[in-house]
């Protein structure tokens, strides 16, 4: 559990850094601002950031409109990479190491039955596998095989309000994210327990990772400890740092 404590420290540093983030946003885009707004007062940089954020929200709406329940391409199992790349916002040695026997997935928000779920209970749900492409916001992509319960099945099982706007996730490392309900209900969105036919190793998000093949990798949270259904927009770790919220592919 010390790894979790370590990662909590990382989180506290993260909170401090979130404040520094304001400075980043203010100073941010200075190059672009210089490129485009030569001769203008430097305070225009704030309005540049405001404009870019507004366009990013607009792009959220465009992507929600483009989104459909069509399936993303799937690949033969032979295409799945065994030694999958793992990314987090800190070093790999600090990833949470969760004790499965005492693990419980917490539920809150617009859900009828908010009883926490143990791993044996989750593993008893109907499972399916998929071989899909994970596309990272950085540009690289990798095909992998994930196994778990269709997220829609789970949402129905817990009596989630499927007409709500968002499903949000809290993770053991302080990471957090949220997705639109349409993507949550997409037939290929899985609450996964396995990668490459093996129970998720700690670096892959043991015990729970949400696989959303219709979204970029950072919208696929790992080490999920709690989830909620809400009509309130709650952003996400990278989303609050300027990355596009919808990030559909």
């Amino acid at each position: 559990m010390s790894a979790i404590k370590d990662s909590k420290d990382v989180l506290r540093q993260g909170a401090v850094r979130t404040i520094e983030r304001r400075a980043f946003l203010k100073q941010g885009l200075s190059l672009g601002a210089l490129t485009l707004l030569t001769g203008c007062d430097v305070t225009d940089q704030d309005s540049v950031q405001t404009a870019l954020n507004a366009i990013s929200r607009w792009n959220d709406r465009v992507q929600a409109t483009l989104f459909s329940n069509r399936l993303v391409p799937t690949y033969p199992e032979s295409a799945a990479v065994k030694d999958f790349r793992s990314n987090q916002y800190y070093g790999e040695d600090a990833v949470p190491k969760i004790e499965g026997s005492s693990f419980k997935l917490g539920l809150s928000g617009l859900i009828d039955n908010r009883k926490p779920w143990t791993l044996p209970e989750l593993y008893a749900l109907p499972q399916t596998s998929q071989v899909t492409r994970h596309v990272c916001v950085e540009g690289w992509s990798m095909i992998g095989k994930w196994t778990g319960v269709p997220f829609r099945t789970f949402l129905e099982r817990i009596g989630a309000d499927l007409s709500a706007k968002y499903v949000g996730f809290e993770c053991a490392d302080g990471y957090y994210s949220s997705i639109d309900m349409a993507s949550a209900l997409h037939p290929q969105t899985l609450l996964t327990f396995k990668i490459s036919d093996e129970i998720l190793a700690p670096k892959y998000g043991y015990p729970l990772k949400l696989r959303v093949p219709t979204k970029l990798g950072f919208k696929n949270p790992k080490w999920i400890t709690a989830m909620y259904v809400t009509n309130r927009f709650s952003g996400g770790f990278w989303e609050d740092r300027g990355y596009n919220w919808f990030s559909g592919i």
């Binding site: 850094r17 520094e20 983030r21 400075a23 980043f24 100073q27 941010g28 885009l29 200075s30 190059l31 672009g32 490129t35 485009l36 404009a51 870019l52 954020n53 366009i55 990013s56 792009n59 483009l66 989104f67 459909s68 069509r70 993303v72 391409p73 916002y89 492409r133 596309v135 990272c136 916001v137 950085e138 540009g139 690289w140 992509s141 093949p213 219709t214 990278w238 740092r241 300027g242 990355y243 596009n244 559909g248 592919i249």
Partner: protein, 226 residues
């Protein structure tokens, strides 16, 4: 083409000039931010100088995110795409509807291209404002094509799921990404030649701003008569 009282003739239509300069801004945003996005996960083993990229202060982002400002670059890229596409569509619709493309960019034959390319390389090709020689025609058509490929491969990389047929046409996500890079390279190469020629023939610059050029060169009038 009529000579006015100041002895100038119109060489570039207003729509072409306005869309040209908006395109300068759009291309600068797309290339500058695109280079920084490239740096976050390069296909080939090199990075663009961060100072030449767009997306916020890299040092601050390095401290806060442990990367060189990808979030800002993506924001610019996905804002710039609207400017590029909307402006590009205005230009394309105008170019087709007004006959500008037909008059200015066609016909261009391989033999005319060879003839004018040889003349250009031996510095015997006169530059006539508003009338494109075969090398110019080929280059402008080429960069137009590159621009269209950039938008289509860009859509393939942005939405390899929703636009999977498009991504398939470009060989899948990874190949589309490679073509997106090669298209950028072609456009940058074009820009090097384009800007070098403006420096060599400086009178082309005011003509793209005012739209007019001195009518003293007889070939302009001759050409416009035809």
């Amino acid at each position: 083409m009529n000579t006015d009282e100041r002895g100038t003739v119109k060489v570039h239509p207003g729509v072409v000039r306005v869309t040209h300069w908006i395109n300068v801004v759009a291309i600068a945003i797309m290339i500058g931010s695109g280079w920084r996005i490239w740096n976050s996960s390069p296909i080939f083993d090199f990075s663009f100088p961060v100072a030449a990229t767009i997306g916020g202060d890299p040092a601050t982002s390095q401290d806060v995110h442990n990367e060189l400002g990808l979030a800002g670059a993506l924001q610019w890229h996905f804002a710039g795409m609207w400017l590029l596409v909307v402006n590009g569509l205005v230009y394309l619709v105008y170019g087709i509807w007004s006959g500008h493309f037909r008059h200015a960019l066609f016909p261009v034959s391989p033999s005319a291209f060879l003839r004018d390319a040889l003349a250009a390389l031996t510095f015997r090709l006169p530059h006539r404002l508003g009338v494109y020689n075969a090398v110019q025609k080929a280059l402008y058509l080429g960069v137009l094509l590159a621009g269209i490929v950039m938008v289509l491969t860009g859509l393939s990389i942005w939405k390899p799921g929703q636009f999977q047929e498009l991504a398939f046409v470009f060989g899948g996500y990874d190949t589309a990404r490679l073509i997106h890079f090669l298209g950028m390279s072609a456009i940058v190469l074009f820009l090097v030649v384009h800007i070098a020629l403006v420096i060599i023939v400086p009178k082309t610059l005011p003509a793209m701003i005012t739209g007019r050029a001195a009518a003293h060169a007889p070939e302009i009038l001759q050409e416009s008569a035809g």
